[in-house]
């Protein structure tokens, strides 16, 4: 960790100098390498979590890693955990969501969830954002709601 830290900071300064208010970085899975450097330099982190039992069981490790990261970056805020790939027709998936909501503080799990949908696969095959697909209006609504929820949390954190 640290090898890319200066470049990450330079990138953030460039984005700020060009007038951007928010910069969202989608990092690779794991908490090492460039991902760790990004977490060392950013203000907030949003944690996507697959809605399945095996994924939920990794939550403690994720929390431990974020707690360690706070030593390096005391300013790091956890915006929340967003449940992804939620399958409304699969009981185990819904149970995983509910279990995480019971386990974690209420404010930690985002109200909006991202459903699992074949549209994501079709969109990625075309190299397009899912929102621009012909049937993407529904998913776009979900992401709009998620965006509003994130904006509210970001706004609440600002002085």
């Amino acid at each position: 960790m640290g090898v890319s830290l200066h470049r990450v900071r330079m990138f953030f300064r460039m984005a700020a100098s060009q007038g951007y208010d928010v910069c969202i970085i989608d990092t690779a899975a794991g908490l090492f390498g460039v991902t760790a450097d990004v977490l060392s330099a950013c203000d907030s982190v949003l944690v996507p979590q697959q809605a399945e039992p095996l994924g939920v069981r990794s939550v403690p490790k994720m929390l431990e890693a974020l707690t360690r990261m706070r030593v390096v970056n005391p300013r790091l805020n956890v915006l929340g955990v967003v449940m992804t790939m939620v399958q409304n027709g699969l009981a185990e998936s819904l149970e995983a969501v509910q279990a995480l909501r019971n386990l974690l503080p209420q404010m930690m799990v985002m109200r909006n969830v991202v459903p699992r949908d074949d549209l994501f696969i079709r969109a990625s095959a075309k190299g397009l954002p899912v929102g621009v697909m012909e049937e993407g209006a529904g998913v776009l609504t979900v992401f709009d709601s998620l965006r509003e929820e994130i904006e509210a949390r970001l706004g609440a954190q600002r002085p």
Binding site: L63, P74, M108
Partner: protein
């Protein structure tokens, strides 16, 4: 068996989560960034007197203790807690110092290469030792030389040459910035008689997207007034020439003359019938033919989307056939992106509507644009 609870210590997990959700403590910025300073960006411009602003910045920056990088303590780490919950300061310190040594060696190698190739001629006076100084702060340019379009060579100061050389990009702007290649549409649109805007057949149950007027030979009378009589045609000028009367755009490459008039009528139709607020039309090279939005970012978004969808579906002719390309840009504003293939290449139409259009409407708009661009196509 509980699929989740039986695998973990719920109390410990909750405790960690609550501590993470607690507001981040107010940390003295100097404690967090003491090792870098407020304007730290990297070690690339470390302490070169030739870099503008270095003297002033050095006064603000953290003053090193004079020891080499490898011996400096990682000051950004918090002081060790007598009873820390998670204790890995030694590992972090070792990694930080190792990274700094690696960074310093890399920069020293880069500087040697730059000196050997003569890129730093004239700058040696400022640093007779030829070594990287210990300070690791640099001024923050508004835009890094490596990231922004290049400055004209004659306008580059010696200091910026140093900065540029250390951020050298493999890409260089061509000295020939003249636009000798004419805009395809501006040159190739045939100087035909400017006929009235095309009529798009109405699609039930939606209200028809009707043009301002109908040509004399066409049947249905339109409620809008007739267009002005077509003026004698003059050859469309190349992109190098200056615009003249009747040209709506003064920038190079923008549509002008009868073609502009047709585009303006097309825009008026969209505003009247579909509540469009603004539109732009660009070609595949990014040349703006008509721009009512005046937002380069939206134009770039439209271009990116259109090219991505075109590559993905190998669209060959006609209107957009890849779903419904639109991007929500505001609470009641959606940018609809409609690529249209014409004999002049791929044209990308961007229109701001209050809400996304349906697929059928997109097809209608694309068809209308095609007829606007190629009025004699007979389509």
């Amino acid at each position: 068996m509980d699929p989740v609870q039986s695998w973990l210590d719920a109390k410990e997990v909750r405790r960690m989560a609550e501590s993470l959700m607690a507001p981040a403590p107010e940390v003295d910025q100097s404690a967090v960034d003491a090792g870098y300073g407020d304007d730290f960006e990297g070690f690339a411009n470390a302490g070169d007197p030739g870099v503008p602003g270095h003297a002033g910045l050095a006064a603000q920056a953290h003053q090193p203790d004079g020891r080499p990088h490898a011996q400096r303590q990682p000051v950004d780490a918090a002081p060790p807690d007598p009873a820390p919950v998670f204790r890995e300061p030694s590992a972090l310190a070792a990694e930080e110092s190792g990274a700094r040594v690696a960074m310093g060696n890399t920069l020293a190698d880069a500087r040697r290469v730059a000196e050997g190739s003569g890129m730093l001629q004239g700058e040696q006076e400022g640093n007779p030792a030829g070594e990287l100084p210990a300070t690791s702060v640099s001024p923050t340019p508004a835009s890094s030389p490596a990231l922004s379009p290049d400055v004209h060579p004659e306008a580059v100061s010696p200091a910026s040459v140093v900065a540029k050389s250390l951020h050298d990009s493999p890409f260089h702007v061509s000295s020939d910035q003249s636009q000798t290649q004419p805009v395809p549409v501006a040159r190739q649109v045939s100087p035909a008689v400017d006929v009235a805007p095309p009529v798009v057949p109405a699609a039930a149950p939606a209200p028809p997207v009707a043009p301002a007027a109908a040509p004399p030979a066409a049947a249905p009378p339109a409620p809008a007034p007739a267009p002005p009589a077509p003026a004698p045609e003059a050859d469309l000028r190349s992109a190098d020439s200056s615009p003249d009367e009747g040209a709506g755009g003064s920038e190079r490459g923008a549509a002008h003359g009868p073609f502009l008039a047709r585009l303006q009528r097309f825009s008026a139709v969209l505003r009247r019938d579909l509540d469009a607020s603004a539109m732009f039309l660009i070609d595949n090279e990014g040349q703006v033919l008509l721009d009512e939005v005046e937002n380069p970012k939206l134009i770039q978004v439209a271009r990116t989307l259109a090219n991505a969808s075109y590559r993905a579906t190998r669209q060959t002719a006609g209107s957009a056939a890849v779903g419904n390309l639109h991007v929500k840009i505001g609470a009641s504003a959606t940018l609809e992106v409609i690529p249209v293939r014409s004999r002049y290449g791929l044209l990308i139409l961007g229109v701001i509507f209050p809400a996304p259009l349906g697929a059928e409407r997109v097809q209608q708009v694309a068809g209308l644009l095609y007829k606007t661009v190629e009025p004699d196509s007979g389509r």
